[in-house]
Every structure is written in C-alpha cells, then in structure tokens.
C-alpha cells in the first residue's frame, strides 16, 4: 500500500535477565507481533505492565532499552527495513522521521541546558531548518500546545516549569522537526487527573494540526480511546486483539479486552445511614513539624459502621495526611477525633491497645508494607499473637482461615513476600489488617500501584469482606472510577480542605462546586468523543463567564 508508514512484521524481542546468584536466562519480551500504521493515523498500544508495549514502540526507532535485543522480524518505515539500517542510517532516521515523547519529561530533559536549545536541537542537527525558523516553529508549537508565555518559555531551564508544562514542551520537541511518526510513551501517566486532560487535549490538537502519525502507548484504555484511531491490545508480549477504536471499546472480541473495558464497572448500591458513626473527625487541623503551612484545615467527616467513606483528591490535597492524623502518626494541632464511642488520643503513644487493634491500615505499596524477611505466616500471625495471644496450632489455623478469606488457599503461609505477585501481596496486607478484627480499615491508595484487572479483584475482595465482617473503610484515592465502585459517602479534598462531602449520590449529582466539577469532568470516560465534549463545554463556560 502506498500510504503505509510503519509496517512491523513478526517482531520478536528478547532480553537477558541476571538474577543475582543464579545463571543468566533469556526472556522473550515481545513475541511475534505485527502491526501496520498508515500515514497520519494514530494507533494506541495498550496493556498492563510487562506487556511489551514500550518495547514495541521503541522498536519503531530500532532502539532497545537496557540490553533488549530485537531477535526476529522486520520493522519497515517508509518502506525501508530500519533494522538493517546500520548506525549512520539510524541516526539519520531518529529525530527526523521518528521522534519520541517519554513518560517522565522531568528526567528526559537535560537539566543543564535551556528548553529552547533542546527543543530545536534535532531540527538543527538534521539541517531541516535554520535557527531562526526552528525557533519560530517551536514558539508556534508552544502556542498551539497552550503553554503560557510561548515567546519566552524556551529561555527557561527544565526545573523552572511544571510537570504538565514540561510534558507539553516535550511534545513540541518531538513535533518540531516535522517527523512522520511520533511515539508517545505514557505521556500523561505521571500527571494529576486535572492536568492530564489539558495535556491530552493539547497532544490531540497538535497531532491533528500537524497531521503526524503516532503510536500512543498507555495502560489506560479510556485515555487511548480519546486520541487513537485504532487500538492494539497486548498482554505478556503477545497481541490479544487489534481493531478500530470504536470496535475495541464497544464490541471487544476477546475476553481479556472485555475485562479491560468493563473494569471498575462494579455496581455498588449505597447503604442507608446508620445511627452512630464509628469514626467522627471534628474540625481537625494539622501541619508537619517545622513547616508553617496547615496541610489539613478544619476537616470534619464521619464514617458509619460497615460503610465506605472515599476521600478523593489530587496529589497535595491532604488526603494522605488525613490518614496520618487519624492513625496518630501526625497529631493534629486542633480538633478532635472520636472512634467507636471513645475519644482518640491525638498521639499514637496515648492510644489503648483496643484503639490500635480496631483501627487498621493498608498501604499503597504492598512491597514495602511487608517485612521481606518474614514469611506470610509470620506477617499475618503477628497481630493474632500480639492482640489475642494466639499461639502454635491455634494461630496457624486462624492464619489459614484468613488466607482462605483472601482467596489464597494452602501453601502460602511459608512463602516470603518476594515470591508473591503484586495482587497477592496486597491480599496478604488485607489479611494482616483483618487479623486484628478491626472496626475500621484505612485504605491508602491500595489499588493505584496495581494493573487494572488485579485492582478490580482487590476491590471486589474488599467489598465482599465488608459485607461479611461489617468492617468500615476510609478509602483514600485519586481515582474517581474506584470511588464510584466502592463508596457509600465521599469527601472531596482540595488544598487541605474538604470542599464537598456527603453520600455518594449527593456528591456525584449536580449542582457542583467548581473544583468538584473540574475533577469529575477530568476523569477519562471510556467512550468516543468524551475529550472533545469536555473541552467544548469548558470553552462555552469560559465564554459565558
């Protein structure tokens, strides 16, 4: 076909792993993947971590990161096999025909050089334009990407602009040489949700205005549905399914794709309010020692027994600080907390053993929440021993009960955390919290480090345990899809304050305050045209004001 830009045929990529103390072994990272991308089209590559999506993306520049080797297949760009191009041929191609936008722009820019020098570097190097023209081009791109002060932002150093801006500058850097193909490698993953939508819209506009083709790599199907014409779903280095975007998200053919599309579609009915809350936080204000700023300002929320209160906010909103205040790790400077009918001492040291037992915590990173030198049996058994004095066979039996409750069965008690998968680790942490027979568990971003399907399983488990044990959750998250799936009531936090608080149905129904509106409307939805809709309605509101 005349207008085929990129044609990858039966690509196979391998790497060698060097586990300490063991013989090196070869791993297949990408196995027999083929794809074809026409000029001016955008293809989304989607998959969980380890799916090989970034590796495939970089193969379009014949680049292997960290000892990765392309061991089979062909990569044709504009009809030439670039795997046979040789070093000089590759240099002529990189930065000219294909460019790259990395996930972390903060690390991808040289800290010692001004942004403009880096943005126009490839254009000058490949003699595609003179300096004046290249700079004019860059400024034009800065403007169309919605960067503030497009004329002068190029004079800044990378650390002088924000993360969202830097990501847009990186996009400008990729577009400046007018390439045929841009590889976007998770360009919005590291950003907050309200920043992500702006960057996403800017990228989409820039792609459309320049007519460039793109490979868009991400783990978030809702995001890729907004920018891609077609989508390829990958898992464990193999292709699962490929097709037009509309077909993938509305009529997926494979089970795995169906699961990805329907993730977080858990239907959770709101529970009726109870008489007496298990936790009542009243007017709590907190600050970190030595810092003059209040990270929590006059926060009041309450949580009913057996209910879930979702605390939602972006990074820096104070949601994790609220958890630290409740657990006693950061004693508040004002306000009080009542728990199970008792007043909670502000300091951890002042709390009774029952306070500690009945108020448990699960962490975001299960990896570092478990002592790597203790077995699963010790980890789950310790609270049994510590709070209830269980020993020996009695304790082991109870550990096994808990392992059954988290659907992990026999044989896990003797294992070490390093031998478990990410989802299993988080399950063990849940079991450790349950072992204390708590009234309430604080869940701090417990699913955000997990792949969507695994996260889904954890959420279902938590709901299931809540129904059986009647435990209440204070669920801290930045992800509104999770909130919808699990919450009975919601507190929206912004800059240390609770800006909106009530039952799920109240909070998620209009009229909204400005911040909640911004937050809710920024969460990508899995339907075509969502991004355009949001941008258009924001323009209209802007015009109306």
């Amino acid at each position: 076909m005349a207008d085929t830009l990129l044609d990858i045929r039966n690509l196979r990529i391998e790497a060698t792993a060097y586990p300490p103390g063991e013989a090196p072994r070869d791993l297949v990272i990408v196995d027999d993947v083929s794809l074809r991308l026409d000029k001016g089209r955008v293809m989304g590559l989607i998959g969980e971590s380890g799916a090989g999506k970034s590796t495939i993306g970089l193969s379009a520049m014949a680049y292997g990161r960290g000892g990765v080797r392309i061991t089979g297949g062909q990569v044709l760009l504009n009809g030439r096999d670039i795997l046979a191009a040789g070093p000089a041929g590759l240099r002529a191609l990189r930065g000219r025909e294909v460019t790259y936008v990395a996930q972390s722009a903060a690390a991808a820019f040289n800290p010692a050089r001004r942004l403009m020098d880096q943005v126009i570097e490839a254009t000058l190097w490949h003699r595609l334009a003179g300096r004046a023209e290249a700079e004019a081009r860059a400024i034009g791109l800065f403007r169309s990407l919605g960067l503030p002060a497009p004329e002068t932002i190029g004079n800044r150093y990378p650390h002088q602009v924000s993360g969202g801006q830097l990501q847009r500058v990186m996009t400008a850097m990729a577009l400046c040489p007018k390439p045929d193909l841009v590889i976007f490698d998770e360009p919005t993953t590291a950003l907050d949700v309200t920043t992500q939508i702006d960057v996403l819209a800017a990228i989409k506009t820039a792609i459309r205005e320049t007519g460039v083709a793109a490979l868009y790599i991400t783990h978030d199907l809702a995001v890729v549905a907004q920018v891609a014409d077609e989508i390829m779903v990958l898992r464990h280095g193999k292709m699962v399914e490929a097709g037009e975007t509309g077909q993938i998200i509305t009529a997926p053919r494979q089970d795995y794709t169906r699961a990805l599309v329907s993730v977080r579609s858990i239907d959770h009915a709101e529970k009726p309010p109870a008489d007496e809350p298990v936790l009542r936080v009243e007017g709590v204000t907190a600050r970190y020692p030595g810092l003059p700023v209040d990270v929590l300002r006059n926060v009041s929320v309450s949580l009913d027994p057996g209910h879930t209160l979702a605390v939602v906010g972006e990074s820096g909103s104070g949601k994790s600080t609220l958890a630290r205040a409740i657990t006693g790790l950061l004693p508040p400077v004002a306000g009080q907390m009542r728990f199970a009918g008792r007043t909670l001492a502000p300091q951890l040291a002042g709390r009774t053993k029952d306070d500690l037992r009945e108020l448990q915590m699960i962490y975001q990173m299960a990896d570092v929440a478990m002592n790597p030198r203790q077995t699963v049996g010790t980890i789950i058994g310790r609270p049994l021993e510590f709070y209830f004095g269980l020993k020996g066979a009695e304790r082991d039996a109870r550990v096994q009960d808990l392992l059954d409750a988290i659907e992990m069965g026999k044989g896990y008690a003797d294992r070490y955390p390093a031998e478990l998968s990410g989802g299993q680790k988080q399950r063990v942490c849940i079991a450790r919290a349950l072992a204390a027979k708590p009234r309430m568990i604080i869940c701090d971003e417990v699913t955000s480090a997990l792949d969507p399907l695994v996260a889904d399983g954890i959420l279902r488990l938590l709901l299931d345990l809540q129904a059986r044990e009647g435990v209440a959750y204070l669920f801290i998250t930045h992800d509104l899809a999770t909130v919808r799936a699990i919450a009975d009531s919601i507190a929206v936090m912004h800059q240390g304050r609770v800006v909106r608080y009530g039952t799920k149905s109240e909070v998620l129904a209009p009229p909204f305050d400005d911040y909640t509106d911004l937050l809710l409307s920024s969460v990508p939805e899995m339907r075509l045209g969502w991004l355009e809709g949001v941008i258009a309605s924001r323009r209209m509101e802007g015009a109306g004001n």
């Binding site: 680049y63 000219r96 460019t99 991808a108 010692a112 150093y157 650390h159």
Partner: protein, 318 residues
C-alpha cells in the same frame, strides 16, 4: 541573597568550623594521657622537682583550654612553636618540607588526574567488555595493596634491577628542575598508582550514572552522533561529579604521601611527622597534624563548592 551564594557561604562556614574543631581534636588527642610534655622531654627518670620546674616554664600548669587558645592563637599568626627535640622553630623547619611535599603531590596529581579520567572514559565506552574488566581488575588490586608494597616493588625493579631512577629521593634547593624530577620519579609513580585506582573507579561510576540518565537517551533518540551526545548532554552534567571525585582523591593523596615519603626517604612533611611521632615531640606532631587536617578539609570543601557551582538547579533558581 542568591541561593548559590547562600549555600557557598554556609559550606565555607562549615569548613571553617570543621577546621577549628579539628584543631581542638588534635590538641585534645595529645592530652589523653596523664603523662605530659614535660615527662616526655625529661623521660621516666626525671625528679619531681625538675618536672615541676619545666612545667612552670612551659605553662603546663595552666588549664587545658587556656593552653589550647594560646597554641591556636600563635598558630594563626604563623608561630607553631619550637620542637622539643632540637629546639628549632617548627614553622621554619616545616616550610621547606611542606614545599617538597606539595611539589611531589603536584606532579602526582598532574599525571594521575588526566590518566584516571581517560581510563574512566575508556571503561565506560567499553562497559562490560574486556578493557573495562581489565581496568576494573587492576584497580581492585591496587586498591587492596598497601602503599609501601607498591613502593618497594617499584624500587626493586626500577631502581635496583634496571637502575632507571635513584632508589632514594633526595632533593635539595640547588638541583635543577630536571634533576628534581628524576629524583622524585619513583615516589610520583607510586602515588599515581595509589590514587589512580580509586579515582578511576569513582570517575567510571560518575560518568556511567550520567550516561544512563533519560536525557542521554533522549539525545540518542534525536539521532545525534555519540560524540555529540557526550559533548553536549553528558559532559556538562558529568563535570561536577568528576571534579568532586578528583578533589576527594587529592585529599586522599595527602595521606598517601606520608607512607611514600618514608619509603623513599623524601624530605617532606610525612617523613617529618613520622620522625617526630617516634621521638614523641608533641609540638611538631600537633603542628603537622594541623597542616594535614587543614589541607584535607580544604580540599573536601573545595569539592563541595564546585558541586554547588555546577548545579544548574541552583544557578538558575525558579
């Protein structure tokens, strides 16, 4: 105030405080024992009366802090006291020897710094291949070997077997530069070998760290030539860590010089210090310790100052 200026002021102030504190420690280090300078001068057979007289003469009956301030005050004015053993002025005897030591250290640094950086670059360029492994292996060996072994091996082969250079490094003022260089060739070779390993290893690590950063990958993906990637993107960020490495190793060299001077009977500070430790000549030992500590602390401070100056985040604040 510009943040760089502020940090520099803080770091230099810290350096001065450390030097002051080091002087306290060196002074205190010689006060640990009940026996004192008077005892050392007169020996065990001294009568109580002669001891008391000498103590009064030397001001030893004053409290330790008063003696410290007297000692420091004089040292700051260039008066390091008189040696107990030969009654000579320490500052005068030391001046000549310090010059000799700096002469030796200067030539060792002049050879070892470029060599270490070059070898470091080669090791990075051929990372994981035989030149890297060879350099790393030899480095591991030189790091584990005592200075005096290197000294005697070099002396045994180059001076005794092949008679290429004199085995004893005697220098005096009337020698020409060429003669002096010939005389110090062996100690310089040994000093170079002593610091080269450390310096090369640390240089390699510093450059590798920069080469593995995401911005170097970005530059490669722009299609730049390897040389341009290194010159434009790696080098400006590698200067600070490499200079830091060099300074730290020069500080290390100051210590290495002590042993090497003894091996080659070179009339420098190290030889002077060791001689007077054996003779228990406390004022000389204190003075030498103070000078060595000052050089060491000064070089470490310089390393930090350069890192601060080279940091773009500090030079261009938000």
């Amino acid at each position: 105030m510009h943040p760089v200026l502020k940090l520099l002021t803080q770091r230099i102030a810290l350096g001065l405080v450390l030097m002051l504190a080091a002087s306290v420690m060196i002074f205190a280090g010689t006060q640990i024992l009940p026996g004192d300078v008077a005892q050392s001068i007169l020996g065990q057979s001294a009568t109580p009366q002669s001891l008391a007289n000498l103590r009064a003469e030397l001001g030893l009956n004053d409290p330790a802090w008063l003696r410290y301030f007297r000692w420091l005050g004089a040292a700051l004015q260039g008066d390091l006291g008189t040696a107990l053993t030969n009654k000579q002025d320490i500052a005068t005897s030391m001046g000549l020897r310090l010059g000799n030591t700096l002469f030796l250290a200067f030539w060792a640094a002049l050879i070892s710094v470029p060599t270490a950086i070059l070898l470091g670059l080669i090791a990075v360029r051929y990372q994981g291949r035989w030149p890297d492994k060879l350099i790393s292996g030899v480095t591991l060996a030189t790091v584990s070997v005592p200075e005096f072994l290197l000294g005697y091996i070099v002396m045994f082969y180059l001076a005794v077997k092949f008679r290429a250079f004199p085995s004893v490094a005697t220098v005096y003022d009337s020698m020409s530069l060429g003669e002096k260089l010939n005389a110090i060739a062996l100690p310089v070779i040994v000093l170079v070998l002593v610091v080269l390993g450390h310096m090369m290893r640390m240089t390699r690590a510093a450059i590798l760290n920069v080469m593995q950063s995401a911005y170097v990958e970005t530059a490669e993906l722009k299609g730049l030539r390897p040389f341009t990637v290194i010159a434009r993107h790696a080098f400006p960020n590698a200067i600070a860590p490499v200079v830091n490495v060099v300074m730290i190793n020069l500080a290390y060299l100051v210590v290495g010089v002590v042993v090497v001077e003894v091996v080659f009977v070179y009339p420098g500070m190290g030889q002077y210090l060791v001689d007077h430790v054996s003779k228990r000549d406390v004022p000389v030992v204190q003075a030498c310790g103070l000078v060595f500590a000052a050089v060491y602390i000064g070089l470490n401070m310089l390393a930090d100052v350069i890192s601060i100056l080279a940091n773009p985040r500090l030079r261009h604040p938000k």
